[in-house]
Symmetry: C3
Subunit: 358 residues, 3 copies
């Protein structure tokens, strides 16, 4: 493992991640990726530590990915699933978290359908003065940091497998397509991609990407003193953040209500899962019309750079966000690589949070 100074105690959001932090995660994940290619894929790093997966919202892939990451670090794991839990007995979320704290949990991996729950648990742990770390595994429509970090790792490793680092994305054009308004994955990705100096193009129907979204991003970013340009197409709205003096490269975020300008010369296309319940909320026309307008196909990819790659956080609705044939095409699809990267990146995160303990 790279020797490094890692000072972050919880991983709740990427909004204030520094370049050094991104690079530390990428390098640590790369060294674990190497471990995973060995015959014996386990390391004793977290032996005797307890990782509790507190999944108040059900999940297969994310929970399994964290569980496997923890086991490969030789940690003991506890799985909490809300469905069979005391939640039905009226216990508060903070009390559940404190119960796992008292049992001796070192790292809590928290998923909840409400934004802010991991932050609330982390704040309570800090208030109590205990060393336990909280890792946000997806909270409502807020953030999903480990997903964005594995996306970042997948892309950077593709460009330079030996030395994945944030600056590799400088100047790249990256399109994020789909239900951006409701996507915690999109939010976390926006922070990491902007930090890298990539050009980030968001594309969605207006109901899933309202102009107010730009202001939300500006406000969040402004707090971190980042300089910003958001251009909205085809409408000529143009917003600029007033804060300056950031050591980061000038980031740029573009909003589009049509797919084509986002795909034009894109290096990477990130598609987002479409929650089918958006339909019933009248935010969308039919799935078929959605696929025609915003679904990614090989034909539409001809607008992009020739070696464009497509990502999706999964699970995929085949034929909705992405055509079935494209999903299975190893020339374009990074979807399987993302899952593999997920284990290495989550090992890195657990390692960085856990290695300072005990």
């Amino acid at each position: 493992m790279p020797t490094t100074t890692w000072n972050r105690h919880h991983i709740l959001s990427l909004a204030d991640f520094t370049t050094t932090e991104y690079d530390t995660v990428l390098q640590t994940a790369a060294s674990f990726q190497e471990v995973l290619s060995r015959r014996t894929k386990k390391v004793p790093t977290l032996q005797g530590q307890v990782v509790a997966n507190l999944f108040f919202e059900s999940s297969t892939r994310t929970r399994s990915s964290f569980e496997l990451a923890a086991k490969r670090l030789s940690a003991d794991t506890l799985n909490f699933a809300a469905a069979t839990s005391s939640m039905t007995k009226g216990e508060t979320i903070l009390d559940t978290a404190k119960t796992y704290l008292a049992m001796g949990t070192d790292i809590m991996v928290v998923r909840h359908r409400e934004a802010g729950v991991p932050n609330a648990i982390a704040a309570e742990m800090d208030r109590l003065g205990v060393k336990v770390s909280v890792l946000n595994a997806g909270d409502g429509q807020h953030e999903h940091p480990s997903q964005a970090l594995l996306d970042l790792f997948t892309i950077c490793t593709l460009i330079d497998p030996a030395s994945p680092r944030l600056e590799l994305l400088k100047g790249k054009k990256i399109a994020i397509v789909g239900d951006i308004l409701h996507s915690r994955v999109a939010r976390s990705n926006i922070w990491s991609l902007i930090a890298s100096g990539a050009e980030v193009h968001l594309a969605a129907p207006p109901t899933l990407l309202p102009k107010l979204f730009a202001e939300y991003i500006l406000e969040e970013a402004g707090v971190k003193n980042q300089q910003f340009i958001i251009s909205s197409s085809p409408t000529p709205v143009r917003l600029r953040s007033r804060q300056a003096h950031s050591p980061l490269p000038t980031p740029q975020l573009f909003l589009h209500w049509q797919l084509e300008p986002a795909l034009q010369n894109a290096d990477f296309v990130m598609t987002l899962r479409l929650q089918k319940e958006r339909m019933t909320a009248h935010l969308l026309p039919s799935l078929r019309e959605y696929h025609q307008l915003f679904g990614i196909t090989r034909t539409k990819l001809q607008l992009c750079k020739p070696n464009v790659k497509v990502l999706h956080p999964g699970p995929v609705n085949r034929g909705v966000e992405i055509s079935s044939e494209l999903m299975d095409d190893p020339e374009f699809s990074l979807i399987q690589s993302q899952v593999t990267s997920g284990v290495a990146v989550r090992m890195a995160l657990l390692y960085l949070l856990g290695s300072g303990k005990a």
Copy 2:
């Protein structure tokens, strides 16, 4: 680990636990508590043994606590949850247990909503002449021995961390408050506290603490040839067990239909979880009225000794059994310590049952 002679093969009830057995559990738990404070919290004691958690009734905290205890002893664990099991296919409970026996289970941790199920499984195992041990993790309204033992450990460790033992409670006044009639936790605690020589004061509304309860306890205790005094307040009923010649100190159990006489000069207050379904059964007025009459608050604690401590088995209905501010007050609340003690005590129980095997 202390070298000791432990002859009990199953842990089903505390009604016939001896002083030596209590002290062995307390000392063994203390040595595991010390293990848990080390950097590497695992010991190889039960390596290769299988602990099966047969939870016919769902549970988060108790199952996680046993699972973690087993893992820290390096045992392999199997989790059975009734919801997703063959139970729906009509298999009997004993057949399920025998299936886990045949797979090679060494210790079965059993929870069931019906009283007596762990005893029935243990009897079947004995009839078959096999070495597997059964540990009652809560059966109906009967007993919950590991909870009472962790309560005992929590209190004794507070009094003498270096050497927790039963006699430390001699002469202490301990109030148990709440839904005593339906509480397996209360029943198990009554046995351990009486055995210690503490003065045990039960307080509840008459619907949750009928006079017949005293006769039940006397009858159970009588079988074990224990001497007994039960005084009922404010009504002047006074019962006395006829059996005498017990080597134990004269135990005393008091029943109260009001909170105040139980709290008066108490050293410890044990609150019990109120099942909300008691309301619909017309056993209770409103939750608010219950809290006013029997809920524990800082104000009511002024009746107790100045350094009184409060326990609760969890999960807590904040503002019902106990006020929210009191629950979070480390000066009075032992609730978090109880959870931590739970892992050490359950390691001790699994160790004592398992170390004689194989």
Copy 3:
């Protein structure tokens, strides 16, 4: 472990298993049975490998048996249960499998209520050119190979504990009784027993054993170039497979619509679980009548050889397929031995699939 050449990459069906393969499984299981009798029941064989239990249909005993087998080989295990999974989010089964592949799974143990799902996953893995193995843990009414192999191991070990092998069953009369039409266990058992040279007698009411079933078996077997005689009693239908030149001994399969001719001089009686939903489909009279006609009791066993033994894959409906007293009679019942054999046989299967990897 016996050193052996094992070339099968997936275990999906027993229809084309060779004598050598059966014997390799039996010998390997025997050596693991010996490991399980030691104090330390674990071997490091699959350390660092990942066994994913993909149970799209719920199960207690089979999942626990595979999980324990994997843990005793020191593999890491991931449990997927459809109820709490992304399945509800519309992901396809193959995409779920590919997600577990991408996480680094080495062996997938798959159960599904639809026949053919494990085959489809295996075909997809082969198409992708990856090394992951698929083990069918029960698919619809198709096959349940590990159950038939553990039945085989149970019987062969009884005859020669030191050296269980297929030829031990040559000339033995084995009755399979019950809901044969809907039983994946029966199908897998038919292949292994026919391959052994045993005489296999199927007995069931006509609704659960239609004449067409014989043609299905002939057709399946014909593909494998096996010679075959099926006699149907009491009706005089007699079918003969045309293919010949098999190196296997001439196998014989008999269909009976009454119990008695199947039991006459039988060495082993395999009973099958009766799904209670068959009743509502009007395939059966009352459970009581079914038990009278086809339920196995001590009295009916008097038709068999004196040292006859009875098997059942579990979970048992006591008093339906088999009388309660017979089930518990160690002189006749092998039901507990089957469960114990299950862990050893599944260790063998995981070992044979996994030892060639990495």
